[in-house]
């Protein structure tokens, strides 16, 4: 089972494999650098559990879990 970005724990890293679907949301994520090959790291979740903050391509991005669930991660080695 391939993991998605919303399943990462705080301080966990992953590499983007691809995005589910093809709408405006996905395009927005892609432009912001959440595209295949990008390393992502979860920094924190908001006090109410959503949205989350990640680091990608050297900057910080906030997105909801619903959007993070569109981001498929590469199978990690370990």
């Amino acid at each position: 089972m391939q993991r998605t970005l919303d399943q990462l724990k705080i301080n966990e890293k992953g590499v983007v494999a691809s995005l589910y679907g093809n709408g405006a949301t996905q395009q927005r994520l892609l432009e912001m650098g959440v595209s295949d090959g990008a390393e992502v790291e979860v920094l924190r979740y908001a006090p109410l559990g959503d949205p989350m903050e990640i680091r990608v391509r050297g900057f910080h991005l906030s997105l909801r879990k619903a959007e993070a669930a569109l981001v498929l991660l590469e199978e990690s080695a370990g």
């Binding site: 093809n22 405006a24 395009q27 912001m32 903050e53 050297g58 906030s62 959007e67």
Partner: protein, 731 residues
């Protein structure tokens, strides 16, 4: 004179660059059809060089547009925006501390095939993070001048001017570098261009290649929507076929674009930039460990909000009282220096009292906009949106609605203007329609005076909590509490649709710049004053006229006769003065009752009887259509007083307390006062708000809807409040 467009990602310091280059030679306007500021300024490019016009475009991450507002940037850059001069070149601002994502936009901008100059901003942050950029090499790779700057300190601006001077002379060529797309995509794009060329007649213009690129790649995007509207059935299928043909890798064309461009960016970065081998935690990250921490972050947020409201409602008061007394003395001075008559009434009762009652709120507006400007410049507002997103999500909104809502506590107008940062139209319109529910400062005088007059000064919990304070708190909460179902319903009906994404950059913290903050505060203040001087002034005059005319000669005669009798029969001079004063009050009250406004009030009285109101309250409410606080002035006039009564005036309070129904029972009770306050908490008696809603939504139906739903809500809530209060025996 050549025209240069200023482009870049949001938050890269574009405004700072613009201000540094143009100084005070700026002007702002609006693009027709969208609510995007059209800011331009003149740049002096150094001795002997021709000056140039710099057009500031809204910050954007990409040229892919999904809404008309986003398309403006593309249209201006492609010279497709009607009425705009051609763009001769670009000044691209890049954030040196965040080059990877910034270069993504640059790779799109290069394809415009225009000469460009790059301002590499935030050099200080980049060097603090030990990011080494080989600027000459970067410039060679991009075949474009790259000028390192630190815009908010003015460093590098002189060099930037020189580079722009080259551009103005036409000495720069469009850089020939490109991110390379697969041959299949290029072929599909060629075919699409041909297709569009064949339909030139229907389109009425040639579609530039870059726009065709967006039509091809952005599925469901605005570029596509715009041409699809014009075309027959066959075009969509052909477009789909071309898209299929252009795809060579997994994922759709948007994913392909991201892969190609980020690949190109990587290539540039690998050559020209050295990142530190071990990433240290940045200062912003350290701060964020506290400021958006689950516990500390929440506490900080609540604390900031508490300080903010404390400022607005306590610390602003002395200044407001000063302004108020200033306006009062101005009115008195003018009134004393002029003869009784229409002109005096217009000036003193109409203009000074009306516009003055609005001017009083200037300190609150300035304080709030100062706070917001500091927090924004610091970078906290994106964090506030992050913290509040879930909460606002329950109302069908997103974290981005937080700032507009917060601003609306001073005044709905800056709040509505702040919705421009919300990308999604449905979210934006919903926010606009519920923002006026927040208790703005214009409601405060209404609450203050009615609470002082009719809410018992009882205290509970050994004096810790007072009933008066509780009532005020209740009024403030009411708007927020009602806004929750209101926005939820709007998002389920008129603005039904999926929740838009919340994909927001969290910028690094910056030290707030005094100049930036001052500029923002100054602009808010000026706009507020302009509004008070134009729209509010005009409406005030109309209301004054309706309350003044017709002056029937019979009334004048009756009261003249009464005055003559008093002169004859009064025993002592004191008694005479007292009686004359009474007659004068009665006279102005009678005039008002017989005025157009008074007649309308009595005619409409039955509508408001269920709320416990009489015709005078109804009239005052109707008269306060231009601005809520006018109700105080009108109540003053109606209840036998001059119209320039303010909330500190004891005698208005006592007069209201003494007001009786014709049968002798007191008119105002706790229940009636509550019913009036609830009405004003929820109604939309504010012409300026309605006008701004019209301007921002560009349709009359939204201000109409806003006014209607809020009035209905106010009426129903006020009815419930009144009957509940009567039921509880609070009258």
């Amino acid at each position: 004179m050549s025209t240069i467009a200023l482009v870049g990602n949001p938050n890269v310091g574009k405004t700072a660059v613009f201000n540094a280059l143009t100084g005070l030679n700026q002007s702002t306007g609006n693009y027709p059809g969208v609510t995007i500021d059209r800011k331009r300024g003149r740049v002096d490019t150094g001795a002997g060089n021709p000056p140039m016009t710099l057009v500031d475009l809204p910050g954007t991450y990409s040229l892919a547009a999904h809404a008309p507002d986003e398309m403006i940037v593309v249209d201006v850059l492609l010279d497709q925006q009607r009425g705009e001069e051609e763009i001769d070149g670009l000044l691209v601002v890049l954030d040196a501390s965040n080059l990877e994502r910034n270069l993504y936009l640059l790779s799109q901008l290069i394809e415009l095939d225009k000469p460009l100059v790059i301002a590499l901003n935030m050099m200080d942050i980049a060097s603090r993070r030990a990011i080494q950029i080989d600027i000459p090499l970067l410039s060679r790779l991009l075949q474009t001048p790259v000028v390192p700057v630190c815009a908010h300190k003015g460093l590098g601006i002189a060099e930037l001017r020189t580079a722009l001077g080259q551009l103005a002379w036409g000495a720069l060529e469009p850089p020939p570098v490109r991110a390379t797309f697969p041959a299949e995509q290029q072929a599909a794009l060629d075919q699409l261009q041909e297709l569009l060329l064949n339909r030139r007649g229907q389109l009425g213009r040639n579609i530039p290649r870059l726009e065709a690129f967006r039509i091809l790649v952005d599925e469901g995007g605005y570029a596509e929507q715009r041409v699809l509207k014009l075309f027959s059935k066959s075009f969509p299928t052909e477009l789909q076929k071309l898209r299929h043909q252009a795809r060579t890798m997994g994922g759709n064309l948007a994913a392909q674009e991201a892969r190609v461009r980020y690949g190109w960016v990587r290539g540039v970065l690998e050559q020209a930039v050295v990142f530190p081998p071990v990433r240290k935690r940045t200062r912003s990250e350290q701060i964020d460990n506290y400021l958006i921490h689950r516990v500390w972050g929440t506490l900080f947020f609540v604390g900031i909000m508490a300080v903010l409201f404390q400022c607005i409602f306590t610390w602003a008061v002395p200044v407001m009282e000063l302004i108020e007394s200033g306006i009062g003395s101005l009115g008195a001075l003018l009134g004393a220096g002029m003869n009784e008559g229409m002109l005096r009434s217009l000036l003193v009762d109409g203009i000074i009292a009306g516009v003055g009652s609005v001017l009083v709120f200037l300190p609150q507006i300035l304080i709030l906009s100062f706070f917001i400007a500091v927090l924004e410049d610091f970078g906290y507002m994106a964090r506030a949106a992050f913290l509040m997103d879930r909460l606002l999500g329950w109302c069908g909104l997103s974290g981005q609605s937080f700032l507009p809502m917060l601003s609306s506590f001073a005044c709905a107008i800056p709040g509505i203007l702040a919705t421009r940062t919300i990308r999604d139209r449905r979210d934006r319109f919903t926010t606009i329609l519920v923002a006026p529910l927040m208790s703005c400062s214009a409601r405060l005088p209404v609450y203050t005076i009615l609470i002082a007059a009719f809410v018992p000064a009882e205290r509970y919990l050994s004096g810790l909590i007072g009933l008066q304070g509780l009532t005020l708190f209740f009024m403030y909460c009411l708007g927020v509490v009602v806004a929750v179902p209101a926005s939820w319903i709007l998002r389920k009906t008129l603005f039904r649709g999926d929740q838009p994404p919340f994909i927001l950059e969290i910028p690094s913290y910056k030290i707030p710049q005094a100049r930036t903050v001052f500029r923002k505060v100054y602009r808010e203040g000026r706009e507020f004053l302009v509004r008070a001087g134009t729209l509010i002034l005009a409406v005030t005059i109309v209301v004054w006229a309706l309350a003044y005319f017709p002056r029937s000669p019979e009334i004048a005669e009756t009261f003249e006769a009464q005055r003559a009798t008093i002169e004859l029969v009064s025993a002592t001079p004191e008694q005479r003065a007292e009686e004359l004063r009474q007659v004068n009050f009665d006279e102005s009250a009678t005039y008002l009752r017989e005025s157009y406004l008074g007649r309308a009030g009595r005619w409409i009285e039955p509508v408001f009887t269920p709320l416990g109101w009489d015709w005078r309250i109804a009239t005052a409410t109707i008269a306060s259509f231009p601005a809520r606080e006018i109700v105080i002035a009108t109540l003053g006039t109606l209840f036998h007083l001059g119209s320039e009564v303010d909330e500190a005036d004891r005698s208005l309070i006592t007069t209201l307390q003494d007001a009786k129904h014709p049968d002798g029972t007191p008119l105002f009770t706790f229940a009636v006062a509550l019913s009036i306050m609830v009405f004003f908490a929820l109604c939309c008696q504010c012409a300026a708000t309605l006008a701004i809603i019209k301007r921002e939504t560009r349709q009359w139906r939204w201000p109409l809807l806003c006014f209607t739903y809020m009035t209905v809500l106010a009426y129903v809530a006020s009815w419930i409040m009144y009957n509940a209060a009567v039921g509880l025996g609070w009258d």
